[in-house]
Amino acid sequence: MAMSNIIPLFVAISLLGAFIISIIGKRLKWLPDLIGSLTTLILLVLSLITVRIVATQGILVYNVGSWKLPIGIVLVLDGLTVFMLVTVNLIAFFVSIYSINYMERFTSKWKFYTLFLLMMAGMNGVVVTGDMFNLFVFLEIASVASYALVAFGTERHELEAAFKYTVMSTVGTLFILLGIVFLYSYTSTLNMADMANVLAQKGMSNIVVMVSILFIVGFGLKAALVPFHAWLPDAHPSAPAPISAMLSGVLIKSLGIYTLCRVFYNVIGINSSLSLVLMVLGTLSMVIGVFLAIGQWDFKRLLAYHSISQIGYVILGIGLGTPLGIIGGLFHLFNHSVFKALLFLNSGAVEYATGTRDLQKMGGLMTKMPITGTTTLIASMSIAGIPPFNGFWSKLIIIIAAVQANRLGYAFWAVLASILTLASFMKVMKYAFFGELRNKWSEVMEVPFFMKIAMVILALICVVGGVLFISNINEIFLKPASDVLLEGTKYADIVFKGIQ
């Protein structure tokens, strides 16, 4: 059996799980939990196996339907893909464990798991595909599932947020499709590697500039970069907490940032003006996001604004284009997935126990919910960049990279945004977990077992996350991912030579 047969499994297994749950999940109450957790566990194990495969054997290429490379659809497994697969499936596994207890509050749990696994199929598909139109199809699978999940509560706010999100995101999709049409008419191919070759031969032209603008708008809408961010602070808090964790943790990254990187670095080829646009958008998101976050009193809404701000860091790091900047950006992407998913799970735990998301109504919950309190403290320190935690290392690398590249202005804004982040999380800790316990909350209980275990393990990853930058682990996890971006349009030759 050829090694590359592992690639389509990432899409197939999630689709299979969704299929089984949708057929028999309605009758057997225990089944959706089991299948959901089992599927994500298998996906996590598979993605960890691929880390090893790519480190030892190089890039794998799978031809769908045995059509040879420039003609058919190909699925590609390279460093960046592996990195994203591990991030997506790691978060998904803990989120699905957490949902076992959390989703008891909602009716029809099986619908939740079906949509959740469909969203996983879409995200894994976006990450593994090497074909432009295929990327669009998987993008839509993930997006449509996420629209339905945002509206899952079907109350006034959920519906309003979901409608706004669907309209904005659909417009983004239209721009992406239009960009793909222009690229196809210019290059007469849909395969990313082939497209990169043709574009390299034909050189820059006005069509490529136009396509770049369309993609920045389209993928920027998916990633919620600042001029296009208006939907995120409504949509992410309205979803059930595990879905907020998925949306903020991995969906905006695999649909927005990964696709931006892949298209601009490996297909179109990065140049100084594109890199400037990315850096400016990143800095704007970073600063505006954090300023909007400080004034919030709704716990989840505050976290959603911080997502915008932290995405800015990732884009800034990747936009710098230096080896250190790209490593910093990707490292921050992974770290942000972990601590933002954890923070959303924490906010869900608080809501589960007390029934409110308003920080002003909480207070002194640390004594009643020690595990939730401690994990929130760890995640807050991570996101604010306090030394031993993972967020500190990645922010440090991005700032050092900005200074090295002689972009002192950007480095200054990055430091400022970090300080403001610290301030807003001190507010969260002070109002929610420290201080006097109100009488109203004297009956509050700690959350059930599965929710605790998911939060504790994610918190442990936050504590030891800095290890990823130690040279051995860096060699097999972060370095291959940043190499893929650094090699630029040479990606095409590498895919054509890849093991089939």
Binding site: V144, A151, H157, T170, V171, V181, L190
Partner: protein, 112 residues
């Protein structure tokens, strides 16, 4: 050339509808119009003047044929559009049940 401009105008109509209209149903219609404009443009890109259908046969030499790939892709894109539209309409129905109106200026409880 004129046909491409008309296609662009159709797309702009759709975008205008999405951005300026206050009724939820009209916004959904705007999305559909913009979607159709993109699909139409995709088909136009594949069209060749006086081209023939792309069927291989031994007698006729193929000189000028219409590109068949976008037609297959547009089918996919139409189906995706159908899914999005169905979801949007379902959301619109639920919103009407909860708020009793389709006017988006009256449906804004989320802000800040």
């Amino acid at each position: 050339m004129i046909i491409y401009l008309l296609c662009l105008m159709l797309f702009c109509c759709g975008l205008y509808c999405i951005l300026r209209k206050r009724n939820i149903i009209k916004i959904i219609l705007g999305i559909i119009i913009a979607e159709y404009a993109v699909n139409l443009f995709f088909i136009l890109v594949a069209y060749r003047m006086e081209g023939r259908s792309p069927i291989l046969s031994s007698e006729v030499e193929i000189v000028n044929m219409v590109d068949p790939l976008p037609q297959a892709l547009v089918l996919t894109s139409i189906v995706i559009g159908l899914a999005t539209t169905a979801l949007l309409v379902a959301l619109a129905m639920r919103i009407y049940e909860k708020y009793g109106t389709f006017d988006i200026t009256k449906i804004k409880e989320l802000k800040g």
